[in-house]
Amino acid sequence: MRLKSLFSAGAVALLLGVSAAGNAADVKVGVVLTFSGGAAQFGQQISRGMELYMKQHGAELGHNVELIKRDSKRPGGDIAKTAVQELITREKVDILAGFVFSPNAIASAPLVTQGKVPMIIMNAGTAWIPNLSPYIARVSFTMWQSGYPMGEYAKDTLECKTAASGYTDYPPGKDSVSAFRTGFEKAGGEIVDEIPMGGPREVPDFTPFFQRVKDAKPDCFYVFVPAGNHTTAIVKTFADLGMGDAGIKLIGPGDLTQDTKLQDMGDDAVGMITMHHYSADYDTPENQAFVKAWKAEYGEDTTPDFMGVAGWDGMAAIFHVIRTLDGDIDADAAMAALKGWKFDSPRGPIMIDPETRDIVHDVHVHEVVKSGDRLAIEVLGTIPQVKDPCKELKIGKCAE
């Protein structure tokens, strides 16, 4: 074992020796994000978060960091995998970062294991992704961190005896819904229906699915859709069908109440309850400084959301690795540096769990409220330092 790791470390050093011939201090970071199509907004958020951190802290690092960006376009995984392969073999990047959609991270995982490149996931929330490679660490969130506590909260605090779930039919959707089911059933609630509502690429007409839920009359309706364009349609359909008046509570993970989309939802969103780790409305000094810097850099009418924060935190993690290793990136050493790393993020205190290489952060209950003429997030409660429940409980693929 020892011999093997020594050997592989030697091989990496050799590889690095070749790639770093130009400037020994430069660190190349391959960034794989969605920069075009309907998901372009996510790529922009994350890369803005990364660049803002670099701009504020780059000078004190003492190393040049070069971001090499690639567009993964869609959730399918294929384009992302090709981009990762090219970044590892041709660009010889030291670190990989980004990954909006889970399938893109999942498809790329075998490559970072073979190529021995640390991969910092800045969004993709399917719980078991870090299990796919020892070189994956995640700074964003897992679907279980919001879904599981939401299940408990729905039963215990919102007093829902029955619940139905609707989800976009791809890995994080299934993940979020099974997290909710596990938490809700454990607390003694009953799930009456779980409805797949089409794939992530296009926003469907949600009416038949929502009508089905309305006719089933659950107390709570838990919805997972990818953050972004699906969410306004969710709120609209819910209101158009009069589901709120029928006594059904709309709940979900915080992807539904993403800061960048919140204002588009209209007053129908008021009262919606989500479980999440970030809102630009948090009044902590770290967050206020972050939001202020963001608006100064990108415009007063822009706002960071949880993806922007993940970009910021991810860049902080990368800087931590570079600093610890003094710019000489070795995959195993980088992962060792990331394990147990702590940081004061705009979202609050965060840590990379040394066991699972996954994020540990506070999770908050969000309610959408009207504040003046804008919609805002009010925090109803906080669950401190949540580890991914899926890996804690060793459920399904999380146990592997």
Partner: protein, 290 residues
């Protein structure tokens, strides 16, 4: 109301609203394909452009929903005449493959142009107050916009049916669909007729696109996303018939909704199964001429 009946009403109602959008957008395609046999895959792009017309008139100029719809129809109808002269006319005698390639190229261009001007994200509009929220029809509440959609669809089929069945122009259109050579030899100006119908069909599609924004959403991907659906409506209905497009839209819209409602795991399976079944029995479509 008993549960079963309630579910049935849900499915039929939502299905009808959805069907009306399919009908309004597809009917022009059915007629133009019936008239000229031109495979115009860009038809959905006219609907999409109409939708963007409505969005920009409403959000940019602050016009109302209905004036915006009317202007979108006029704008897209007029624009389609220009395209007809420049791109379509040279290919009337060409093979179907050439027509398909040209028209799908137009869709790519429209999609890229709209992405350039409006960005890749979906856009939305605020429909008038009276069309939002719920409408109480006595025995049950329905989403107001969908009720409106069904009314519009019924008005549209009535007007178009009257136009085709009871007017001279309509009679000429029917004559050309039935037998083009005979129609030409008795002096019907097919070229002019086609231009009119083409512009009308595009204008109606533009209205459909504007009406669809609130139900299907609108992004520069719209024309691709729904292309197959529009083609299915035309094929199942039969080329060149308004009645066919209407019935096909209703059958497919209601069945698609029923499938999603009753068996969400099956997703979009139903609509294709039904399409295959219908075309196996009637290869020319429900009302098509074999």
């Amino acid at each position: 109301m008993p549960d079963f009946l309630n579910i049935l009403v849900s499915i039929v109602f939502d299905g009808l609203a959805y069907a009306m959008i399919l009908f309004i957008i597809s009917v022009g395609l059915s007629i133009t394909m019936g008239l000229m046999g031109f495979v115009n895959l860009a038809h959905g792009a006219f609907a999409m452009t109409g939708g963007y017309f409505v969005v920009s008139l409403m959000t940019g100029l602050g016009l109302g929903f209905f004036p915006s719809l009317a202007l979108a129809a006029i704008g897209v109808g007029a624009g389609s005449l220009l395209l007809e002269r420049v791109f379509y006319a040279p290919l009337y005698k060409a093979g179907e493959l050439d027509q398909v390639l040209m028209s799908i190229g137009l869709v790519f261009m429209a999609s890229a142009a709209l992405t350039f001007f409006f960005g890749p994200d979906p856009v939305s509009i605020n429909v008038p107050e009276m069309l939002s929220g719920q409408l109480d029809l006595g025995f049950r509440k329905f989403p107001a916009y969908r009720v409106f959609m069904i009314v519009v669809g019924v008005v549209m089929i009535t007007v178009l049916w009257f136009g085709i069945e009871k007017t001279l122009v309509g009679a000429r259109v029917r004559a050309v669909v039935d037998n083009r050579h005979m129609a030409e030899s008795i002096g019907i100006n097919v070229d002019l007729l086609f231009k009119m119908v083409f512009a009308l069909g595009s204008g109606v599609a533009a209205i459909g696109g504007g009406l669809a924004v609130d139900i299907l959403g609108l992004s520069p991907n719209f024309a691709f996303q729904y292309l197959v659906l529009f083609l299915i409506v035309v094929t199942v209905g039969g080329l060149g018939t308004i009645r066919g497009a209407f019935v096909a839209a209703i059958v497919l819209g209601v069945i698609d909704n029923a499938g999603k409602y009753l068996w969400p795991e099956g997703g979009a399976f139903f609509i294709y199964a039904v399409t295959i079944a219908i075309l196996l029995v009637r290869p020319a479509g429900l009302f098509g001429k074999t």
